[in-house]
Structure formats: C-alpha cells, structure tokens
C-alpha cells in the first residue's frame, strides 16, 4: 500500500492531494514530501478526499506537519475527509488540532480572505 501525492498551486495556496492509506509504512515518506510545501507564511491545503484510512502513525505525521507550519506562521488546512477518517479523528481528538474545510472551494475561498 502506498500513498500518492500530487500538487498544484491555486493563487498563493499549494493544494496537495493525497491518495491511498496513510499508515506507518507510508507516513515517513509522506512527511518528507509534505514538509517542503510548508515555508514561512505559506498556505497549504491537504486534500484527503482520496484517502480511505489514516492510522495512528499517519495522524501523528499530519499533526507534526501542522505543528511545523505553526512554528513558521504557515497554515495547513485539511479538506475532503471521508466519514471514517473524520470519525476517527473526532474520537481521538485530532480533529480539534487542525483547521478543517468541507471541500476545496470553500477552503480556497477561506484561504483568500
């Protein structure tokens, strides 16, 4: 199982779309791939609509990226959480740490503000 990453730029915002499962096997590589998008004051949207499952290690990876972003006054928003991922993140408290958007359009709109 792998996680595929593709990225594009919308205005000032990097949109990073992930596909697959984020678990202990894939999260290490993912962290290395995600961190370059997080620079001083940058805006990053992580599109998780192609992600069916995020394990404990995967959630930790996302939270580490988020914490790095906070240190750099950057902003990371998660978007497109499927029901299962949303539920797990809610039950374990991870949801409370992140900025979450329902869909890409509303997230981009918010990023422009």
């Amino acid at each position: 199982m792998t996680v595929k990453l593709s990225s594009r730029t919308e205005g000032e915002t990097s949109v990073v779309a992930l596909e697959g499962e984020i678990n202990s096997t894939t999260s290490g590589g993912l962290q290395a791939q995600l961190l370059p998008f997080v620079g001083h004051g940058s805006r990053v949207l992580v599109d998780l609509s192609g992600v069916s499952y995020i394990s404990s290690a995967g959630l930790r990876t996302l939270l580490i990226v988020h914490r790095r972003a906070q240190q750099l006054d950057a902003r990371v928003t998660l978007v497109g959480l499927c029901e299962e991922v949303h539920f797990v993140m809610s039950a374990t408290g991870f949801l409370d740490f992140f900025e979450i958007a329902d869909d890409l359009d509303s997230a981009l709109e918010r990023a422009d503000r």
Partner: protein, 716 residues
C-alpha cells in the same frame, strides 16, 4: 544559549543479529517496550526464569514472525533487555517466552509453551471490539503492542480540586451511553461519554469515577443466563489483564488501536469542563485466577514474585477471585507505583479508587501489616502528591478497615458505615439518631485525627441496589446472573414502601420518590465527599438485581429516556441537580474539619448544633426517628469564609412532626430550599422565606433543608 540538536545517538546502531533482526543490548529501565531512536527497547523482569525470548508477531498473524532469545550479555540482574532496530511499531505485536521449572510447591509455574503478555504493555490487542467473538485457539490472546505516549495535552493538568469540594459520580464507560436512547455517535465508548459532558456539567458533578478501564476480557465469564440462555459477560471488568493499557473495547477506535488517544481526549475534555477523573483500579488480583486459571503474563514470568502463595505454593485467595497479588513484595510495589505514576503522568488521571484495598496492606504471607510499605510509598510519592487515593477498605477474607485503613494523612475511604446507617435510618429503623448525626458530621468516630474528606459518603454504588431499587425492593432478585440468585449482598437495608417491584399505587410511588429524595438530601448535605451512582439521579432500575457485574444489557445501561422525553423522571433529576448546586453554593457543607460542637469563631453559635422537635433539644432516645442539625455559616471552611446558616431536618417517622426552629442571629431568617414532600427544590439563592419564621411542619418520611440568610432586598 540554544542549539538545535540533530545528533544521532552513539548507541543508535545494532551490534549483532538475532533471528535475522538487528539488535543490541538494551536498557533495563523502564520496563516494557519503549521507542528509542531507530528501534524499540524491550525490557522484562524475571528472577527465576532459566531462559527468555522476545516473541514478535506481525499484527494479527496466527504464528510468530520471529523469536529472539536474550543472550546472557543482554541481562542485567534479573532484567532482560534488548533493543531491536527497524521494527514497524504499528504493525507489531510482541510477547515473551520464559523457560524455567514447573514446580508449584516451590512457587514456580513456568510454561515455555505459552507466549506471555508484557506486564508493562501500554496497548493490548485481542479484545479490540467489545464482545466480538475471538479466535479461542489463539496462541497469544492478549497481545502487547507498542505505544508512543506523545499525546498533545496543551496546558492540561490534573485539576487538584480540594477533596472536600468534590461531588463524585460513579459510572461505567460502556453502560453510560450504550443504551440505544443515549443518542451519541459512538455508544458505549470513551468518545460517547465525551459527548455527554454537557449533561454532567448540568448535573453539577465535578468528578467522575470510572469502573475499571484497564484492559480486561469481557468474555472471561463462563456463565449463561438460565432463563434466556444468553451469554453473561464480565461487564464490570474487575479482572485486569493489562494494568498499563486502556480497555480497547471501550474505544470507538479500538479496532484501529487508538484507544489511548481516545481515552486521553476524554480526560482532557472532562478537565476542560472542570470535571476530575478517578479510576477504579484492581490491584488485589489479576485475571489469571487460581491454579486452573489461564497463564497470561505474571504466572509465567515469575509466579512467586507476583502472587501470595501458601507454604505449599497454592494461591492465597483474599480477593475471592482465585489469586491475590503480592502487593508488598518490593518488585510488585515498584510495579504498582510505576503503574499509578504512568496513569497520572500520561493520562492526567486525578485519583484512584482501590478495589478491595485492604489486600494492599497484607504481607506476602497474608498478615496485615501495621505500616505497609506500598501504602506509605503511594501516600508520599512525588508524582502522586495531589492524586486522590481512595480505599475500598476491606477485602473478601474478612479484613475490614473502614476507619483504620493505614492512611498517612492521604487516603480517603469508601465509608460503608455511612451507607448502612443512612439506609437504615431512612427506612425507619429505630435507635439510629445518634449514629446518623455522627455520619452527617463526617464520621469523626471513624476518622479522628483526619478530616471529613477521609470519608467518601455514598448510599449506593455499582455494587448493590440502585437508589430506585433500594426503595422498591426488600430483597435482591439476581436470578438472571446464573447463580440461582445466590450471588450479591443480602444485607441491603432496602424497603419497598409496601409492594415488591413495580407498583401502580400512587401512594407507593409517591413514598418511593420521597424516600429517594430523602437519601439524596442526606448524602448531599453531609460532611465528607458525596458519591452518586450514575443514573440514580433519574431513578435508574436494575429490576432488583443488586449484582449486575455480568449483565451487559438494559439492566445495567443508563436509559436516557429517564432524562428526556415522555418517560423522564424530571422531578427527581431536577431535585438532585438543585441539591448539588446547593452543596456547591454552600461552603459550610464542605468544611473539611470535623465539627466540635462549640463556637470557634465568635459567632455565638456552635459550628454544628443538634435539634429535634424542639430547638436545641435533640432526642437521642432509641424510639426517635427525627434529627435536625444546623450548621453555622460563620464556621464555613473553619471560619476561612462566610456562608449562610443551613438547617437540615430528617423525619423518618411515619407521622408528621411540628419542628421548632432554632433562632437565627439578627438580620437572618429561615428560607425554604427544599422539602422532599414537595415536587421541586428552589434555586439556591432564590429560596422563599418561611411563612412562620420559627416553626416548620415536616411531613411523614420527609426531609427539609432551610437556609438562614438575610432577606433579599426585593422581598418585603
């Protein structure tokens, strides 16, 4: 001076291969599995093993992926330690295989055919989803896993609410929200309980005490319901499998192994709501049972260390469950202390209630110790310094220590005598006025030299009748438990108010309501720490079953229809909410020091005074069933703060009585907070003044609570 430290560690490299894995000698402490740079450090203690292996499984695999024998150089003292590199912690399950003699007479029960769970495992897999049918032939049923304790607590810390200010709410993680009426998104889980925090806030409790949450096996009960044939469970969970691991089956995310995060999130949110968390912990025995029980961990690692054994090597059974943990053995003391420190440090737990705690002061041969090292150590431990320590101060072998549990000024106790006295008095038994007074004053007879916060007062707890059943049944009705009704306590002091079980009689129902209110009124106006059994505030019934340890069904679950909707018990719930608010509003009820019956602050009134039908003239005679007490508000918290005067009169007689009220100081008059014969209590601070300032007509089987305060400005 700061620097970003990116150095690797010198010991971050393997020195050899064992069974194909890259390893090096590990660190003996801490015990268990600890993530370290590049790998995981495994450490396990056994004094008498002759060989030890680390057994690795891929998550969920039937057979081990590898077995790594600890070479002699990887052992320091009697601790085996090895760091294994390159492991995927998330997909790993591990255990140990210990070789050694099977010679029960000398205490050894080694069995190298078993894979043993790590006593220090912080995550355990095998019962991930409550009640799910497991593979009964699994060679390793309770599988240790690795946990990174990196939860983000933010600024959270245990709350350190003064013990005397607590209102404890005893509940069961699953039972609280498992009922279909709960309306939560994940019924029966930590996450479900979290969704009910607003209810707890509205109720006003500031501490939840959870029945055991350390990993246990709900399926270890072999019995079935004789009527329905349905499986009976180990629903309460007083049979610990893993002391460092939160119960996975209580987590909505247990199937993903995320129970630690889910439980920590619950604790954090409860703290945010001003509610402490006390855990009911069971250190008196383990799930390994007696000689016929399963070998899970301790028995196979070092039987003679962990269990109290007779000179012939049999298990002492002070717990009534087959074995007794050898709590005052130095190694076991260290285990218990490490465990409690762990739950306080990593889960921010505020306190512990120790099941059958009298066992904790027995020596390895079972003799009660005058100065048990474990209890002393817990009382003075730096990490546990502000942790509430509450003892169930008896055990199953006749050691009853309510009032004389070795306490070091730190331990509180479940006050079983409060429960029995209040039940019997309210039921109408004669000869109890004096003892009731003592109980309402914080039981100074039991806790002399300590404060009233040593006394955890309760009328009902998980073990026994619910409040509703206490006033609806004379006898227990435990047939559904599969033991021909023989299980459970017989001395319940219940009174059914005229009819056994459900009643259509308006008179019986009204009397039951009043009796429930009487019991709650005494509980919540007594000195000491009140504890309420979850659901009692809304009249939850177990249909007369006083021992629902095995009932994972509607007998045990909280029916939220009692809180909301057409079947709601709004009157009782509203009354209990008001009583809790009243207690929080009146520090005079929460004074830690026992009253002396004299004026200590120059108010002209004693701290607590006793009254009867006539003011200042209590009737202590054996036929009397009326007692009133007045607390002087100037004595609140030992005079440190000022409060109103509070008068509580209890009439357990079947006749009404006219009470003469004690006169208040100039400027204060008596106001009516609550009378249990009336539907509702008044909101604290908005009580109406009495029509007759010096008298009160108290109905049969009723309690009145008055507050002596200055008239509100808007009142004439």
């Amino acid at each position: 001076m700061t620097v970003q430290d990116m150095r690797e560690r010198v010991d971050g490299f393997p020195t050899r291969r064992i069974s194909g894995y890259r390893v090096r000698a590990g660190r003996p402490l801490p015990y268990g599995a600890q993530p370290v740079p590049g790998g995981i450090n495994f450490s396990v203690y056994s004094d008498r093993a002759t060989s030890m292996s680390l057994v690795l499984f891929e998550r969920g695999a039937k057979e081990p992926a590898a077995e790594l024998p600890f070479p002699p150089e990887f052992r320091i003292g009697s601790v085996y330690a090895m760091t294994v590199f390159g492991l995927d912690a998330e997909n790993l399950e591990y255990g140990f295989r210990a070789g050694g003699p099977f010679d029960p007479e000398s205490g050894d029960r080694f069995d190298s055919g078993k894979v043993l769970s790590d006593p220090y495992a912080r995550l355990v897999s095998g019962r991930d989803v409550w009640g799910a049918e497991p593979d009964w032939d699994d060679v390793y049923p309770y599988r240790a896993r690795v946990l990174d304790d990196d939860f983000d607590w933010g600024d959270d810390t245990p709350l350190r609410i003064p013990t005397e200010d607590l209102v404890i709410y005893e509940t069961h993680v699953r039972g609280f929200t498992r009922h279909p009426s709960s309306g939560v998104s994940a019924p029966g889980t930590y996450a479900g309980l979290r969704e009910k925090i607003p209810y707890l806030r509205e109720l006003g409790v500031n501490c939840v005490e959870l029945l055991p949450v350390f990993e246990f096996d709900e399926l270890d009960n072999p019995r079935t319901n004789p009527v329905t044939g349905e499986r009976l469970y180990n629903y309460w969970g007083y049979n610990t499998v893993a002391f460092f691991a939160p119960k996975a089956g209580y987590a909505a995310t247990g199937r993903f192994g995320m129970q630690a995060d889910e439980f920590k999130t619950l604790v954090k949110e409860l703290h945010r709501a001003g509610i402490e968390v006390v855990l009911d912990v069971v250190f008196n025995h383990t799930a390994e049972g007696n000689e016929q029980g399963p070998t899970i961990s301790f028995r196979g690692l070092d039987n003679a260390t962990y269990y109290m054994l007779t000179p012939r090597g049999e298990y002492y059974n002070f717990s009534g469950t087959g074995n007794t943990v050898n709590c005052n053995h130095p190694v076991v003391r260290d285990f218990v202390l490490s465990c409690l420190r762990y739950w306080v440090s990593e889960y921010h737990i505020d306190g512990f209630r120790f099941d059958l705690a009298a066992i904790l002061d027995r020596a390895p041969d079972g003799t009660p110790l005058p100065n048990p090292p474990l209890l002393e150590q817990l009382a003075h431990d730096p990490v546990l310094r502000h942790t509430k320590l509450i003892a169930e101060a008896w055990d199953a072998a006749g050691l009853y220590q309510v009032g004389n549990f070795p306490n070091y000024g730190r331990w509180s106790e479940w006050n079983g005598k409060f429960r029995d006295t209040v039940r019997r008095f309210v039921k109408g038994e004669p000869g109890l006025v004096g003892e009731l007074a003592t109980r309402m004053a914080g039981s100074p007879d039991l806790y002399q030299g300590r404060t009233s916060s040593a006394s955890v007062n309760f009328v009902t707890a998980h073990d026994g009748f619910t409040l509703h059943d206490l006033v609806s049944y004379n006898d227990k009705h435990n047939e559904a438990n599969g033991e021909s009704g023989g299980d459970g306590a017989n001395d319940n002091h219940g009174w059914n108010c005229g009819e056994e079980g459900p009643s259509a009689s308006a008179h019986v129902r009204a009397l039951r309501m009043r009796q429930m209110k009487n019991l709650m009124a005494i509980l919540l106006t007594s000195q000491g720490v009140p504890m309420i059994l979850a659901g009692d505030e809304a009249g939850r019934t177990q249909l007369g079953n006083n021992n629902t340890y095995c009932q994972d069904n509607e007998l045990s679950w909280f029916d939220w229809g009692l809180v909301d909707g057409p079947t709601a018990n709004a009157e009782l719930l509203g009354f209990v909410r008001s009583l809790i608010a009243f207690r929080h509003a009146h520090p005079v009820l929460r004074t830690a020091d026992h009253p002396v019956g004299a004026d200590r602050v120059g108010s002209g009134y004693p701290d607590v005074s006793w009254h009867g039908v006539h003011a200042w003239d209590p009737d202590w005679s054996s036929h009397c069933r009326v007692l009133a007490l007045m607390r002087c508000g100037r004595h609140a918290k030992g005079g440190a703060t000022r409060d109103d005067y509070v008068y509580v009169a209890v009439n357990a007689h079947w006749e009404p009585h006219d009470l003469e009220l004690p006169q208040l100081p100039e400027g204060r008059t008596w106001h009516l907070f609550a009378d249990t014969s009336m539907a509702d209590a008044h909101p604290p601070g908005a009580e109406p003044p009495l029509k007759h300032p010096g008298r009160y007509h108290l109905g049969a089987h009723s309690t009145v609570i008055l507050v002596g305060r200055a008239a509100s400005p808007e009142q004439p």
